[in-house]
């Protein structure tokens, strides 16, 4: 062995480590995952994965099957723990007004949405297989709206709060994992996607896309109210009013109760075996939302 090789061998030997170094004092992966989720929640919806969860939490999802709108109850609300009894607050319609109702573990919720899977338009192929339909996510809609992020969601219909609490992690995994979804075959589930866009005034819009062929949905009455029917680009759009719970804290926690209920507008239309449900995240005037719908429909038609 020449001197150079000898020296190299010496350096290599010096860097060899005892196997004990590989035993970590904690579960680094689990901790990292938890920190990532916490950090991104605290920092104002920075993480696309969490963002979608929270957005889905705040808004209502449309059940296309019966063209009835249903609410993402649990995420609309907060779960409170009093001693060992868990309750949640949901918003229900009562005539022309809305009320906050406390539900127990034994109560059935219309729909709960779960997501832990964000994707970019370029990574949409994987998601198309999961939802079982093709979709198109334009990067830009006209000159007014820009793509922000997107996620794969799992809607679970008519589910008891107890099951939600017990199986929350499983439902999240099932959003993208077929095997786990199969394990949950006792529940009425459906995959859909949520895409977020923003405008120049920093208003955010979330567009949910479902398969129109899938007839899964809730049997319970919706809290959505039909307002109007419009014809946009030869497609019939239904305008809904839906309740929007407002919380004291910007970041939702399971311990909060909504402090009041506001109303928001949603547009729903069906096109090529898909149901689209657009919901304005923040206050946006009616004409802007209409512009979005027109622009989006135009984009889809152009893409074809």
């Amino acid at each position: 062995m020449d001197k150079r090789m000898e020296f190299d061998a010496e350096l290599k030997a010096a860097l060899k480590l005892d196997t004990s170094i590989y035993i970590t004092s904690r579960d680094l992966f689990e901790e990292a995952w938890m920190k990532m989720q916490q950090t991104h929640t605290k920092s104002g919806y920075k993480n696309p994965i969490r963002r979608i969860i929270l957005l889905a939490a705040c808004f209502l999802i449309l059940s296309f099957g019966t063209a009835m709108a249903v609410s993402a109850d649990v995420r609309d609300a907060a779960i409170k723990v009093y001693e060992k009894i868990k309750t949640t607050f949901i918003v229900e319609r009562e005539g022309d007004s809305y009320k906050i109702v406390e539900k127990t573990e034994e109560d059935t919720l219309r729909v709960v949405s779960f997501s832990s899977h964000s994707f970019t338009p370029s990574g949409a192929e994987f998601v198309k297989k999961k939802v079982g339909f093709n979709f198109y996510i334009p990067e830009k809609i006209g000159n007014d709206f820009w793509y922000y992020n997107s996620g794969l969601l799992l809607a679970v219909y008519d589910v008891k709060l107890r099951d939600v609490l017990k199986l929350e992690d499983k439902f999240q995994v099932a959003a993208a994992d077929d095997e786990t979804l199969q394990e949950l075959s006792g529940f009425k589930t459906e995959r859909c996607i949520g895409v977020r866009y923003y405008d120049a005034n920093a208003n955010y819009y979330i567009l949910y896309i479902f398969s129109a062929k899938n007839k899964t949905g809730s049997d319970k009455e919706s809290s959505w109210k039909e307002i109007n029917k419009l014809n946009i680009e030869d497609i019939e759009c239904t305008q809904y009013e839906y309740p929007y719970p407002v919380y004291e804290n910007k970041i939702l926690t399971y311990a909060d109760r909504p402090i009041r209920v506001e109303t928001k507008t949603a547009f729903v239309w069906e096109y090529e075996d898909k149901v689209y449900s657009l919901q304005g995240i923040r206050d946006a005037d009616y004409s802007t939302v209409e512009k979005f719908v027109k622009g989006y429909i135009k984009e889809i038609k152009n893409q074809n």
């Binding site: 480590l17 004990s20 170094i21 992966f29 994965i49 964000s118 996620g151």
Partner: protein
């Protein structure tokens, strides 16, 4: 083996896919972080921080085949940042290996390794990184240039310079050690 499918699942935020992906490199990554920081606790923090960055930045990994290069690039940068932050507080950690050593011959071998490792640890950040990636991670010059985002020639010259510095340091040490031993032996003989 890192497949496109698993990276795609990661891009879609699949936690289990990340776990699978990281499992294949965790040991190597932890050891690299340990060599960079010289401290076991900091090494764990570096790895954890790297994971967190990877969760969100995997969207930017264009080619899944380059996952290892990309991962170690994130790890090295995180390692540099965190080691710098802690450099005033901690000296090189030797506890991890010294605990269970008992025999004299082992101690002698251990001492030599410690001296070499300490010399590596005292190199500048750039030289140390190249040495670790080359001698510990068994990366080629080309792979190191990709991880560090620099020219192959730069890697070669850093490696050459690092060897020169290390040889000089270690030669000086052994020369000094031999002198001490000689004096000590003479002293013992005189006293005896």
């Amino acid at each position: 083996m890192i497949t496109e499918e698993i990276v795609n699942r990661c891009r879609n935020g699949d936690k289990e896919a990340f776990r699978e992906l990281f499992m294949s490199i965790e040991k190597k990554a932890l050891a690299t972080a340990y060599h960079l920081s010289g401290n076991r606790g900091i090494a764990e923090d570096i790895l954890q921080e790297t994971y967190i960055k990877c969760f969100t930045e995997i969207q930017y990994l264009r080619n899944p085949q380059f996952f290892n290069t990309w991962f170690f690039r994130v790890l090295i940068r995180t390692g540099w940042e965190m080691s710098k932050k802690h450099s005033r507080l901690l000296a090189t950690d030797t506890v991890a290996e010294a605990e269970n050593k008992q025999t004299d011959s082992f101690l002698q071998g251990y001492e030599e390794r410690y001296l070499v490792r300490n010399a590596i640890h005292n190199l500048s950040q750039n030289l140390k990184t190249v040495v670790i990636l080359y001698y510990y991670n068994d990366m080629s010059i080309e792979e190191i240039s990709q991880v560090l985002n620099c020219l192959k020639a730069t890697v070669k010259s850093r490696l050459f310079y690092a060897r020169t510095v290390l040889k000089k340091q270690l030669n000086e040490h052994f020369r000094m050690e031999n002198c001490c031993r000689e004096v000590s032996e003479k002293g013992w003989k005189t006293n005896g």
